[in-house]
């Protein structure tokens, strides 16, 4: 019998995978993909709770979060592309004029 615990466990694993991805990778695009995984994990948790609480609010949140994710992707990729144009290198470790 599937319980909400199964879904939350899956969501927790996805969230942690994403978080580790952000922390260990240094390419901004991969870091960004990992952040998307984390948002996706949050969405999964919302939908699972929504079903087991018999409360539609969780699904509404998913739509709002989807929109936020889309807005984030537009802004983030625009900055990354602009950086690429200005300087043909986009590794956060190597992009490092700001240190002190």
């Amino acid at each position: 019998m599937l319980t909400v615990n199964h879904f939350i466990l899956l969501s927790a694993i996805l969230f942690c995978l994403g978080a580790v991805g952000v922390l260990i990778r240094r390419n901004p695009l991969v870091m960004f993909m990992s952040i998307e995984l984390m948002l996706n994990a949050a969405n999964l948790a919302f939908v699972a709770f929504s079903r087991y609480l018999n409360n539609l609010d969780g699904q509404i949140f998913v739509f709002l979060i989807l929109t936020v994710a889309a807005a984030e992707v537009a802004v983030g990729l625009a900055i990354i592309v602009a950086m690429f144009r200005a300087r043909e290198n986009v590794d956060v470790d190597e992009v490092n004029e700001l240190k002190g």
């Binding site: 952040i35 984390m38 948790a45 709770f49 609480l53 949140f61 936020v68 950086m83 992009v95 004029e97």
Partner: protein, 480 residues
């Protein structure tokens, strides 16, 4: 199925609405404004902010909530709204000459800044975790762009990328925290969360959710150990954007932080107050010690802003009415003081060439006595010297901590203030005691920058000498 008429009450979101409308008008105005008249878009933005501030004043004491309990116009939120509007207006005054000198004077600069202000107001007045999250995103996304606004400068773009990646990372934590709180209580409404917690004890899941919310807030207000992005972003972003970010984001994020923790989660206070106290100690100490080591003014002010976040967190730990009003007063005092300091740094720059190293300030007092005096006053206020605003703010916060039995935290705060005196005085010593460096001749301070500086310095002194009205206003800001 029947559709209920939604609970629309435009009056209570009037400040955010006016700012949004102003942003759209400026966006359209950009199309018809010739390049040499772009500064008028800045004036228009300030006018919109002033109207929004009046709208916030007219709502004072209304204490109305609307949109199905998503947002409230209480004095706490309105005080923060006024602080945010003031910081945005002063930042725009500084920005108009600045972005002209750096050849980035596009109307979109003001549009993005106003959109960010709308997000801040939403965040400061929201009473639902989802709306707080959306406010957070609405304030952050335009700021990522503004940090990267000097597109020719890779340092600015790098600041944008870093701010974006770490901001999005922290929002993910915040969001997961909301999900767990939703799972544990079945709601995201702050009042309903408080009601649900009053009935049943918290679960481990709820504690973890609250912890993740704290991580999200800690990132936004730059608490140690979630602060490491701050110096790089503050250093790389255009100076006016740094000035705006360093004060307004704090006001909005701390507003939501207090609302969430003090009013929705008082039942869990035993758990999170200890964590917050540890964060406050770490933040103050690391911020001040790191600021000691900086030779660049922007980085020094970045670490100083981290330290100030630590002081404000003490007010949250106190978790009392006095703590709340002292935090409001402190945010206002910090806003005018820090904007004054940044304004003076901008005033001393030579067109597009900025003076950002502390040693560059050598002899400034001889060439620009008034600007040097203004910078001195603001730095002394940041350090907490009487009779300036920063002193009163610290006095109130430490007093609130002592009252509620957190005297040791207040002692650490005082010790930290003493350490901070050293690095705040370094630029002052350079300005007054060193021989002038070359290149001072021919620098004229832009009138708008001078105006912003004047407003900031007068406020710093007024809040320091006659703090009573502002304290009364902040005390009226109590939610209950």
């Amino acid at each position: 199925m029947p559709i209920l008429v939604p609970d629309i009450n435009l009056r209570i979101i009037a400040p955010a609405l006016i700012v949004t409308v102003t942003a759209i008008v400026v966006l359209l105005g950009e199309l018809v404004t010739p390049a040499e008249r772009k500064r008028w878009l800045g004036y228009l933005s300030i006018a919109g902010l002033v109207v929004a501030a009046f709208a916030a004043f007219s709502l004072w004491g209304a204490n109305a909530s609307g949109f199905s309990g998503m947002v409230v116009a209480d004095n706490f939120g309105l005080f923060l709204t006024l602080t945010i509007a003031l910081s945005a207006a002063l930042s725009i005054l500084l920005s108009i000459p600045f972005i002209h000198a750096h050849e980035i004077d596009q109307g979109e600069y003001y549009v993005l800044l106003l959109a960010s202000v709308a997000g801040m107001i939403v965040m400061a007045t929201a009473t639902d975790l989802i709306v707080i999250f959306l406010g957070l995103e609405l304030l952050s996304l335009p700021l990522y762009i503004l940090a990267a606004f000097q597109r020719e400068d890779t340092r600015s773009l790098e600041a944008g990328i870093k701010y974006f990646l770490l901001g999005a990372f922290s929002s993910a934590f915040f969001l997961y925290g909301i999900a767990l709180v939703f799972g544990a209580t079945g709601t995201t409404n702050l009042a309903k969360i408080a009601a649900s917690l009053a009935q049943s004890a918290g679960s481990p899941m709820l504690s973890i959710g609250v912890g993740l919310l704290m991580v999200g807030f800690a990132f936004k207000v730059a608490l140690v150990p979630f602060h490491w992005w701050t110096p790089d972003v503050y250093d790389g972003a255009p100076t006016t954007v740094t000035a705006f970010m360093s004060v307004a984001v704090k006001a909005a994020a701390f507003g939501a932080f207090f609302r969430t923790f003090q009013f929705a989660l008082p039942a869990l206070a035993l758990d999170w107050r200890a964590v917050a106290a540890v964060l406050a100690v770490l933040t103050m100490t690391l911020g001040n010690v790191a600021a000691l080591l900086q030779s660049n003014v922007k980085r020094m002010l970045a670490y100083s802003s981290i330290a100030h976040a630590g002081y404000i967190l003490i007010a949250l730990v106190a978790m009392s009415a006095n703590g709340l009003s002292s935090a409001l007063f402190y945010l206002l005092a910090y806003t005018v003081t820090n904007l004054g300091a940044f304004g003076a740094v901008i005033a001393l720059s030579d067109g597009a060439r900025e003076r950002l190293e502390i040693k560059d300030f050598a002899g400034a007092a001889r060439e620009h006595p008034l600007v040097a005096l203004a910078l001195t006053i603001c730095l002394l206020s940041l350090a907490g010297f009487p009779p300036f605003a920063g002193f009163v703010g610290k006095f109130l916060i430490f007093g609130a901590a002592v009252e509620t039995g957190w005297a040791w935290l207040a002692v650490i705060g005082v010790l930290n203030s003493l350490v901070s005196v050293y690095f705040y005085l370094r630029p002052v010593v350079q300005m007054y005691m060193s021989e002038p460096a070359e290149g001072w001749s021919g620098i004229r301070v832009a009138p708008l920058v001078a105006l912003a500086l004047l407003i900031a310095v007068i406020s710093v002194i007024a809040l320091g000498v006659f703090p009573a009205p502002a304290i009364a206003l902040a005390a009226g800001g109590l939610i209950r």
